[in-house]
């Protein structure tokens, strides 16, 4: 890979990320401890420390299109152990948020993106999660109808999947939150 | 004698309180390097910027100075370990007092100039002199509020 640094673009991207993150990218000294402990590193295309460096270099496209930002499971192992106290898990949130705002569709991790969206839609309309609806909509959107389906009958038998969900009664207050912050 | 300074805004007199080790030597270096700067400055040498009593500054203004420059070693470089920290801390409190007395804080400058910074001495003195000249002429500094 070759990167040509455009200073203006670099600064813009860095400042956008740093403002949202409330942390400084330069704090990271690339020791790699975050990547060393990351439970999903094995599936990622860039290690977390690479994501940090790439962000610092202004490599917006590869970062926002990376698998890494979506595969991150927000376990906070990285932030907890970072010797510099850098918000590693936080930067993953920030990058996902930027990618979402830009409407970037991940080529490989679309399911994860869809899941988050469907989840929030579910919250938006009910105020709470109605699991059967959530799973159903998610399956429909990802066209992976049969995945996990073998679990459903047993879950229903055990009482784990309810046929109807609760709703927040003051649902308009939820709608307002979404209006203000979505 | 012609060319008297200090009496008017065009040609104000400025008093500088400087430490013996860093800033005084820095000013000497400007001389040995034959740099040129405004001649309104009058240097009073003290052992350390920690010796500079805020009341010296009040006295300087009372005696007609239109600006006061205070300069010592860089933080951490003090010849006397920590003198410049004391002066810095003191200065912060003193600014309020000066302000209260009606002194325009633009007339007091605080800087760190090391023995090797002849050029910094020149630019600090020149810029400060320009700044003082640009301020409105007041006869009594203490009523400039």
């Amino acid at each position: 890979m070759k990167t040509i640094i455009n200073e203006q673009d670099r600064r813009n991207f860095v400042s956008q990320v740093e403002t949202m993150l409330h942390d400084k990218l330069a704090k990271c000294y690339q020791c790699g401890k975050c990547s060393a402990g990351c439970p999903v590193n094995f599936e990622m295309d860039y290690t977390p420390n690479q994501i940090i460096k790439m962000t610092e270099l202004g490599m917006q496209d590869p970062v926002l299109n990376s698998k890494t930002i979506w595969l991150c499971v927000s376990c906070n192992t990285c932030s907890t152990r970072c010797p510099k106290g850098f918000e590693v898990a936080g930067i993953m949130d920030v990058l996902r948020e930027i990618a979402t705002r830009k409407g970037i569709e991940s080529k490989t991790e679309k399911e994860i993106q869809v899941f988050h969206k469907v989840f929030l839609d579910n919250v938006k309309s009910n105020g709470r999660i109605f699991e059967l609806e959530l799973v159903g909509k998610y399956r429909l959107k990802t066209k992976r109808l049969f995945r996990d389906m073998f679990l459903a009958p047993k879950m229903i038998e055990k009482g784990k999947l309810r046929m109807s969900g609760d709703k927040v009664s003051a649902i308009n207050s939820i709608a307002k939150i979404f209006r203000d912050f979505e | 004698m012609a060319g008297k300074t200090g009496e008017n805004v065009k040609d104000p007199r400025i008093i500088a309180f400087v430490c013996n080790w860093c800033t005084y030597s820095g000013a000497d270096l400007a001389g040995t390097s034959r740099m040129k700067y405004a001649d309104n400055i009058r240097v009073i040498k003290l052992p350390c910027s920690g010796r500079i009593d805020p009341l010296f500054i009040v006295e300087a203004f009372k005696k007609g100075a239109k600006g006061v420059l205070v300069s010592g070693c860089h933080p951490g470089d003090c010849h006397y370990t920590s003198g410049n920290y004391h002066s810095r801390r003191k200065y912060a409190a003193f600014r309020d007092l000066l302000n209260y007395l009606g002194v325009d804080l633009n007339r007091v400058e605080f800087s760190w100039i090391s023995a090797s910074e002849g050029n910094k001495w020149v630019s600090v003195v020149s810029e400060f002199t320009e700044k003082i000249k640009s301020l409105p002429d007041v006869h009594d500094i203490f009523s400039s509020r």
Binding site: V40, L71, C75, L120, G127, L151, K158, A170, F178, F181 | -
Partner: protein, 292 residues
């Protein structure tokens, strides 16, 4: 102390066993809790993943309702919920601008005065070991129990301010109180991948599998958890994992409240242990037989 209860969505759905057992145990302990009126979903991992403001605003509504109803503390038994509530509380307490934006939107004041506890914190600090001990009627001697903490209970320590993030002991302490033996194993705090459970099942099964096989290797009879998401992965997906790696696990996974309930002498049915996917009959028989 007026105590608010924030059940969260899971306890009303897939992890109803947690709520059932929790309420039973608190009843024995004679502790009153009150569900936050008209609570909403905390946004779980989806909100913070793609919309930071929403991830604070959704929990904030619950916190504000609780505070405005005169509560001082909230019990959030779900580790994910407690993590989101604590994080929101932290941000609302430290970022005045954000707090203003959010309270304006909620049209409710919030002073960030509320304390948030997860289940373990609540049991150890608010209930107290002595109190718990005094209710133990059926000591679980001879049962080997592995506590699985996962990530959300202890990380990030700056916000969770609970237990040691690398070598937590709180759940093990509770296990020991019941008379059972706490099994030490290295994967206690390794993540099970919960947030991508539905969207990335293969990865999640790899992570969860590692934890389960490690526990098994260390000779535990039973796993306890204090998080419905951990529970889903460890319990609901266990069969699938066994199939994927062609190696049996057979480890019942129960909630810490269920373990306490058993030691309090409650029946497995009262605690809804039969609601779990992995059959726990064998170990339950052992427990019940010993007490007879």
């Amino acid at each position: 102390m007026k105590l608010a209860y924030y059940p969260g969505c899971s306890l009303k759905g897939t992890s109803f066993e947690y709520e059932v057992s929790l309420l039973k145990v608190l009843e024995v302990l004679n502790i009153e809790i009150k569900e936050i009126p008209d609570w909403n979903c905390c946004g779980a991992s989806a909100a913070h993943s793609i919309n930071h403001n929403l991830s604070v605003a959704l929990p904030a509504r619950n916190l504000a309702i609780a505070e405005n109803n005169g509560f001082e503390n909230v019990l959030a038994p779900c580790a994910a919920c407690s993590s989101r509530l604590k994080t929101a509380n932290y941000e609302l307490g430290s970022d005045d601008v954000l707090r203003k934006k959010i309270t304006d939107s909620l049209d409710m004041p919030y002073n960030a005065s509320l304390g948030v506890s997860n289940m373990l914190e609540f049991l150890l600090n608010a209930v107290g070991k002595e109190n718990i001990k005094s209710h133990i009627k059926r000591p679980l001697n001879g049962i080997k129990v592995a506590s699985y903490y996962g990530c959300l209970l202890v990380r990030p320590p700056k916000i969770m301010k609970f237990d040691d993030p690398e070598n937590p002991v709180s759940m093990d302490e509770l296990v020991s109180l019941t008379g059972a033996t706490a099994v030490d194993y290295p994967y206690k705090t390794d993540c099970c991948g919960a947030i991508n459970s539905l969207s990335k099942p293969d990865v999640v099964m790899a992570l969860t599998g590692k934890v389960l096989y490690n526990i098994k290797e260390h000779g535990a009879d039973l796993v306890v958890v204090a998080c419905p998401l951990c529970h889903s992965n460890l319990d609901v997906r266990q069969r699938e994992i066994e199939r994927k790696y062609s190696e049996r696990i057979g480890l019942p996974v129960i909630f810490i409240t269920e373990l306490l309930g058993l030691s309090f002498g409650l029946s497995p049915e009262e605690l809804a242990i039969d609601g779990h996917m992995v059959n726990a009959d064998k170990i339950l028989q052992k427990i019940l037989a010993a007490s007879r």
